[in-house]
Structure formats: C-alpha cells, structure tokens
Amino acid sequence: MKRLLLVFILFSGSCYAVDFRQLSDPKQQESYEELTKELRCLVCQNQTIADSNAELAYDLRRQVYEMLEQGQSREQIVQFMIDRYGDFVLYKPAFKGKTTLLWLAPLVFLLVGFLTVFFFIKNKKTAQAVISDSDTLENAIEKKKKIRSLLDKGETS
C-alpha cells in the first residue's frame, strides 16, 4: 500500500510540469490563463493547452502569449486558432446549427430520465394501492376469523 502511494505521489507531479508565463498587465494575464484553459491540445485531445505537456501545447501557449503581448483581443486569438485547427480546438464548442444536438442532447436525456422515473413511480403507486386495499380486506377477514376462533376457544375452556 505504501509503495502504491509512493507511485501515485511520484506520478502526480508530472501534471504541473508546464511553463509559467507572466504578462505585465494583470488583465492580460487573466486572459492568458482563461484562454489556455479554453483551447484544446490537439495531440492529447482531452487536455487543454494549459494542462498539457505536449510540444504543440507549449507552442500554442507561446502563440497565445505573444498575441496578447501584441495587444490582440481574446476574440482575435480564438478566431486565429479556429482558422487553423477548426472548431475542435475549442474545449467548449460554440452553440451553432451543427452543434445544436451536442448541446441539447443532455437536456433531452435528462427529460427522458425524469419522465421514465415519473411513470415508473406512478405505475408502482397505483399497483401498490390496489395491493394495500386488498390487503386490508383480507386482513379484516383474517382478523375476524381469528377473533371468532379465540372466542370459540374461550367458550369451551
């Protein structure tokens, strides 16, 4: 167990091995940090360029940094990336005709889930209601029988 823990600790360090860049303007620094978290590293695909150690991620971070230093806006930088790498470079895809299904599918699935649960519970409730009704009726008969038998026994003893 200890050995396993050691392995985890040793490997967790590699996640932080990205270069650090400082822009003089704090607003630009904020843009830099946000932009690198929005752009996908196309080599490792499920990492942003802020997370990734890949060479390409390094180059793209440098590109973002240089463009910010030149005073380019966030929109210009995002457009620059889309022109070269396509919409896929955006970690959060834009909402447009082609991506409607992508954005709305989770909502649809959630709705289907809710409806299923709703009807499931409704069905079960009516079924249970029927059972409990018959239950009380049966119980009442049973109780009456028991009382009768007890009374009969009491009379004989």
Binding site: E55, D59, D83
Partner: protein
C-alpha cells in the same frame, strides 16, 4: 410484449451509435483549410539555410507539402512510401522539417533517402501552427493556384496513394492554371 420491444430498440440504437464511434478515427479532425490558399511562409531551406522558399515560388505547379521530423516514429514508416512515390516524379514534393535539429534531419535524409525536391526548416513550429499541424506526419496537396485541396493526417500508405492521392494529383495536374 412492449416490455421487451422497448429495451431491444434502445439497445439497437445504442449499439449502432457505439459501433459508428468505433469506426471513427479520433485524430481525423476536419481541416478548415480545404479550398483555402496555402498560408504564407518564408522559410530557410534545409540544405541551403541562406536561401528561402515561399509558396509563391511554387505557383503554377501542383505540390505536396509533407510535414516530417527525424524524431517522428510514424514518419519512418511513411518514408519508403514517399521515396517510391518520388521516383514517379508525378508532383513536386516539399518537406516541412518540423521542430527538428537540422543536423539530425540531414543525417536522416542521408541514411534513408531523400524524396523531397526541397525541404524547409521550421524549428520553432510556427509554420506548423499556421498550417494547423497537430500530428506529424501530415501531408497537404496544393494546386496550381496555391489552394490547399486535400489534407492527409498520419503516415501515407501505398493504399492512400493509389486510392486518393494519385487520382487527385492527376486531376489537379490536368486543371488549367
């Protein structure tokens, strides 16, 4: 009866989508460059660093722009295919030596053969960014007008040459300037 049909239908729909997902190649990202002009560059030649090459120099001919590097493992498997293809002299082949050490690159060409008419250097990967390169090797097919007509990601196989590249190149060669 419905009780069995609904899960079966759901299962079939899911299986179809998952099956389609299996057959897609996640590294095949549609290129935004198709039918757009090849991005400008002015890069030093590998064999003569004082000379530069620009896309304008290649106007009027069909050319392949092949991104390669000596550190790239799949380039090694692609290389013999390119060497064979270069013998046909069907098209001008320009190499983009991407993020590589020029000495290593030259050694690589010396020992494995050089299919390129010209190789240019992109040590910092800036031309690579302009061409949206994310996985080496990549190959662009550029027509006589300087428009990118096709992009191939990953190593070129003999089948790729026969099925897509050679027919496309033949078509582009016959197009008027």
């Amino acid at each position: 009866m419905l009780k069995y049909i609904i899960p079966l239908v759901l299962f079939i729909i899911m299986a179809v989508f998952l099956g389609m997902g299996l057959n897609l190649n996640p590294s095949d990202i549609p290129s935004p460059f198709i039918n757009k002009p090849a991005p400008e560059f002015s890069a030093p030649k590998l064999n003569a660093p004082s000379e530069k090459l620009t896309p304008a120099d290649l106007k009027g001919q069909v050319w392949l722009f092949n991104v390669w590097a000596s550190w790239c493992v799949s380039c090694r498997s692609e290389h013999p295919v390119l060497n064979e293809f270069a013998k046909l002299k069907a098209v001008t082949i320009i190499g983009l030596n991407y993020k590589d050490d020029p000495t290593d690159a030259k050694k690589w060409l010396d020992s494995l053969g050089n299919p390129y008419n010209i190789s240019i250097m992109d040590q910092e990967g800036r031309i690579g960014i302009d061409y949206g390169v994310y996985g080496v090797p990549e190959t662009f097919v550029i027509d006589k007008k300087g428009l990118i007509r096709h992009k191939h990601t990953g190593p070129i196989t003999p089948a790729d040459l026969q099925k897509t590249l050679i027919p496309l190149i033949d078509k582009l060669q016959s197009e008027p300037l």
